[in-house]
């Protein structure tokens, strides 16, 4: 099949998956909407859908539709952590390692960074850098556990990383409650970050779009180059495709499996750290933030390709914002997002979804090729 057709096919398939998910969303909104009759419900559904699909970027009022910069920066800002978890999952899944530790990873990263930001005074520019790197390093070390257990003892990295998520959450909660909380405050939160540690904002409109966004984009480029232009990246992808083949052809499979998870952990930790310093003044997370799971959806949407992660992150950030607005203005619970995410996820990852259409395209390409050859012969 020609490359062009391949791209068109994946586009059609992706769009259709999204459409199905939106259709499911519409059904659910319709069922949950208030209203007496069918018509009223339909109108409520329409209003809710408008919030979901248009409102994240545009403000609709009497005067028509107008572009809203604040909402755009909101969406961009919420992309920051999920770009990192998306990349993290991309790298781990590329090596066929179903490590689901990005969720606990981002929390540990955020926590470690926060601690460095509070208790280790440093110069202005160097402070956030060191703090974020410390966050990344902490998670990288944490990920050594599932990675080494997998390679040395064949313990499922999936179960292990899932358990670690819970352990990380509880230990951090324990440390916060007993030692680190600012007792003068009503809720459990840490002391304020030192001024020198805060990450500067790009736009000063309260949407918390920090320099971290640029860092995230740079990291996307680095990951993209790493995965497709270096020997390590190639090895990771090769192991993901066929581990036995990689072993027989002399690749250091165990080492690379560990590497992929450590790198993934590092990215997740960095994401947590940047999110912390860019958005908050104190550490106050008391539960897992959910960015790790979103990261998995992003990796699936991006097909484990780092270059596509920003696009997928934008899409999910947009949907998230839409769901939030819908919850506020149309009274539809924001957790609809999880169902939509799940449905998109299922269809996107479905290999046989639209396989007949694909088959037709393949046949068509082959026929054209044959015809071309015939034509060349006659000429």
């Amino acid at each position: 099949m020609t490359k062009k057709r391949e791209i068109i096919f994946s586009l059609v398939r992706g769009l259709l998956a999204i459409c199905i998910a939106l259709f499911v969303a519409m059904l659910l909104i319709f069922i949950s909407s208030e209203g007496a009759g069918f018509g009223e419900k339909l109108r409520a559904t329409g209003a809710a859908l408008k919030q979901l699909l248009i409102a994240p970027l545009f403000r609709t009022g009497r005067s028509g539709v107008s572009f809203d910069v604040k909402r755009l920066t909101d969406v961009l800002a919420s992309m920051i952590p999920i770009i990192f978890t998306g990349l993290s999952v991309c790298i781990m899944f590329s090596a066929n390692q179903f490590n689901l530790g990005a969720e606990g990873g981002i929390m540990l990263g955020a926590f470690t960074t926060a601690m460095v930001a509070i208790y280790v005074p440093m110069g202005a520019v160097i402070h956030p850098i060191v703090a974020v790197l410390a966050g990344g390093a902490a998670v990288a070390v944490l990920m050594l556990l599932p990675a080494l257990l997998k390679t040395k003892l064949d313990v499922s990295e999936m179960v292990c990383s899932l358990m670690l998520n819970y352990i990380v959450m509880y230990v951090i909660k324990f440390l916060m409650n007993t030692y680190l909380a600012d007792k003068t405050k009503g809720q459990i939160q840490s002391y304020e970050f030192l001024q020198s540690a805060k990450i500067a904002q790009l736009v000063d409109n309260g949407s918390k779009l920090s320099v971290g966004f640029l860092v995230a984009l740079v990291v996307v480029v680095i990951c993209g180059l790493f995965m497709f232009n270096t020997r390590w990246g190639y090895t990771i992808r090769m192991i993901g495709l066929n581990q036995d083949f990689s072993r027989y052809s002399g690749m250091k499979v165990a080492g690379v499996i560990v590497l992929s998870q450590v790198l993934g952990g590092f990215l997740a930790g960095m994401g947590g750290g940047i999110e912390m310093l860019g958005r908050y003044n104190t550490f106050s997370w008391s539960a897992l933030p959910g960015y790790g799971w979103t990261g998995i959806t992003i990796a699936i949407l991006a097909g484990n390709n780092p270059w596509l992660v920003p696009l997928a992150s934008f899409f999910l950030a947009y949907l998230t914002k839409g769901c939030e607005l819908m919850a506020t203005y149309a009274n539809v619970p924001a957790q609809l997002l999880d169902i939509v995410q799940g449905v998109i996820f299922l269809f996107f990852a479905a290999e046989q979804f639209l396989s007949r259409y694909r088959q037709k395209l393949v046949v068509k390409s082959a026929q054209e090729e044959l015809a071309g050859k015939e034509g060349a012969k006659h000429a």
Binding site: S156, V159, C160, L162, M163, Y170, D338, Q341, G342, Q352
Partner: protein, 324 residues
Amino acid sequence: MLDFLKMLLTPEFFFSIIRISAPILFATLAAIVVEKAGFCNIGLEGLMMFSALSGSLVSYYANSWLIGLLAALVVGVLMSLMMGFFAFQLKTDITLVGIAVNIMGSGGTLFLCKVITNLTEGKTMASTTGFITKGLCIPNITIPLVNKIPFLGGILSGHSLLTYLAFLFCLLTSIMLYKTSLGLNIRAVGENPNAASSVGVSVLKIKYIAIGFSGLMCGFGGAFMSMSYAQGWSLDMVAGRGFIALAAQAMGNGECLGGMLSSLVFGFAQALGIKFSARGLDSNLASPIPYAVTIIGLVIFSLVRRSHAKKERSAAAHAAQAAK
């Protein structure tokens, strides 16, 4: 220390171990059967969440725990068959299907709960804890005669109906896997699908049966969570039991008896955690104990398996040498 031991060696403590193990055991049986059929269902967690929610809601609206339980089972089976459709027919990676179900099971159940009950306590918290009254809980059963036995009676009698079912199902599943043709087919499909299909076994059908069975077990487990363990459904109430079950399956070497013992180990760990926090240990330090035990258990299991394999190999080598 002696004091503490004395506190542990009470019928109540052993009773709580069994009670806590029950939902894990259900999920472990689910994991065992699908593993025997050759794949891994990591969506157990999400399945249990959906079953827990539907069980509590239906029992409230129908005003009957039995109908609620049946609803939980139906939802569990239907969801798992849907997972099967995506995994087997549309060829989505089964792990990803499981993750999708877990994502939906976490926030999606909260969405459904809010929509169906119109509850919006605060911004995020909504639960059906007010819905399930004592009468709607799955009944506890006092076994006559057994409850008169000193010590043992207090441990074995008075459990929820589902707790007894869990251990009964453990036995039944084992019989199903090893004494029936269905079990043989399931194991054959797991070991070598091509060979199984060459003798006329429908691989697809067997896989659907296996995943449907896992849904059924999760239905029981979910119903237990929301209608017996706790009264009512709340967000993320399954709290990783579906994942712990995967570990229990691995630690039990994929067998029902082993799975049961591993579930009891986790039950013990959690019961111990609860006791610790009752003695003043921070609950945030007590809560991660079962999860840590899971990892440690997996490591120990893997070490044991490894040394077994080594012994077998060396025994085989000795035998070969002796034969020479």
